[in-house]
């Protein structure tokens, strides 16, 4: 039987996790009653759903439909003149949602605020490009990497991947080495689909060694003619990986255990 692999998250996973492992959490503290962050919260009033301080920066959770309003308030009333970064996190597998964050900077107070909102899979978000021009590129990147549509963006187009690319690479469902389309992209584009057989599939095995390839590699120390067979009759062997032998110690029939008893 084939091993079950979850399809909704194909990223790296720990091969072993202790049964009783409970991940701790980075301490979150309440926003102090006095100070800059408290002022920001009072200015935002009802726009902020939840707020706390995590590792020195205030995190504000807001409603996704109000993102433009919140940003406008933060920029104009609280002095957050720079949007350092904005991007998304894919929580589709867990919650069916994307988490978007905006990292803002106030240079007069030297304070940073992170605004977080969540949207459903096929929802769009309002562009903050009229407020922060840096959002022009950043929102295009979000669209490219996650497929999140941004309303009222002046030029919403793929930015990092080519225009004719299929799929959004930073989704958790997208494997790191790419899908079928990605693996043949350059061959299809340059030579056409009929050359797939000539060129062959990509080599994704990082441990592959071609000892007898005289087409591409020369020999150090002694020269061999081009494309000569230097295997000296040795047949090709596939790499064999050693298998871990698991002993079930719970059964009483274990030979080693019997001996020990």
């Amino acid at each position: 039987m084939r091993k079950y692999v979850p399809k909704d998250n194909v990223q790296g996973k720990s091969y072993y996790t202790d049964r009783f492992w409970v991940a701790p959490r980075v301490p979150r503290t309440e926003v102090e009653a006095e100070g800059h962050f408290a002022q920001v919260l009072t200015t935002l009033a009802k726009l902020a759903k939840e707020a706390y301080v995590e590792l020195g920066q205030m995190v504000i959770h807001i409603d996704a439909s109000q993102n433009f309003e919140v940003m406008k308030t933060l920029k104009e009333a609280c002095g957050y003149t720079q949007c350092s970064e904005q991007s998304a996190v894919d929580y589709l597998a867990k919650d069916g949602e994307f988490e978007l964050f905006y990292q803002l900077l106030n240079i007069t107070e030297a304070k940073r605020v992170r605004v977080i909102c969540r949207i459903k899979q096929n929802e769009a978000i309002e562009s903050i490009e009229p407020l922060y021009k840096s959002a022009n590129f950043a929102e295009r990147e979000i669209f490219d990497m996650f497929g999140i549509k941004v309303n009222n963006h002046p030029f919403l187009k793929r930015i990092l991947m080519p225009d004719d690319w299929e799929g959004h690479p930073l989704l958790k469902t997208y494997p790191m080495i790419g899908d079928e389309f990605a693996s043949w992209y350059e061959v299809d584009k340059i030579f056409g689909k009929e050359y797939r057989d000539v060129i062959g599939p990509e080599n994704r095995d990082q441990a592959r060694i071609e000892r007898y390839d005289t087409k591409r590699f020369s020999r150090v120390g002694y020269e061999v003619p081009f494309d000569a067979d230097i295997s000296a009759g040795e047949t090709k062997t596939d790499i064999e990986y050693s298998e871990t032998v698991l002993v079930d110690y719970t059964k009483n029939s274990g030979k080693q255990l019997d001996e020990r008893r």
Binding site: P169, G178, D179, E186, E202, R204, K215
Partner: protein
């Protein structure tokens, strides 16, 4: 080149050099290899360094050219992404024959550490490569060594490029 022990200048004889056409042509080709500045990523910095003060590529007759029409050798220095692959092939097509390709760095050779969706897993999937240069990033000395190896290779070839089809391995 043929070597002569007679000093023609002093004995007033004719200055004659005997050689074959192949050798003469290859002498010219191998000693004025003009690479295309094809810096893609990190290796491009090392390529620049090998052209700059300490390593000084000019002493090998190597002058970087910005146009593919003037270049003999393409040094693919760095990661070739899938988005860029089309342009790499296009520039290779624009170079005039005879032309050679040096793939510089692990990324260009095999994709290197970038085993991802966006990276071409070895430029030899789209361009025939003459010299593979290992390292991440290879030192300027390595690039100079590779260029000397390429010169060696050129000197071994026939001046008539049509005869070299098998030697040059035009893969696709």
């Amino acid at each position: 080149m043929a070597q002569h022990k007679v000093n023609y200048a002093s004995s007033a004889g004719l200055p004659i050099v005997l050689t074959s056409a192949d050798k003469l042509v290859n002498w010219g080709r191998s000693n004025s290899l003009w690479p295309l500045t094809y810096g893609l990523a990190c290796c491009a910095i090392e390529m620049m360094a090998s052209g700059a003060s300490r390593y000084d590529f000019d002493r090998m007759g190597t002058i970087f050219r910005a146009s593919p029409r003037q270049a003999d050798v393409m040094i693919l220095a760095g990661t070739l992404s899938k988005k860029h692959s089309e342009f790499a092939r296009r520039l290779y097509d624009q170079m005039t024959e005879p032309k050679w390709v040096i793939s510089m760095g692990s990324c260009a050779n095999t994709g290197g550490m970038f085993n991802t969706y966006a990276t071409v897993q070895g430029v030899d999937r789209i361009i025939p490569v003459d010299i593979y240069l290992p390292g991440c990033a290879p030192r300027p000395e390595t690039l100079q060594y590779a260029l000397m190896m390429l010169q060696k290779k050129i000197r071994r070839e026939s001046a008539n490029m049509n005869k070299n089809t098998k030697q040059n391995l035009r893969l696709v």
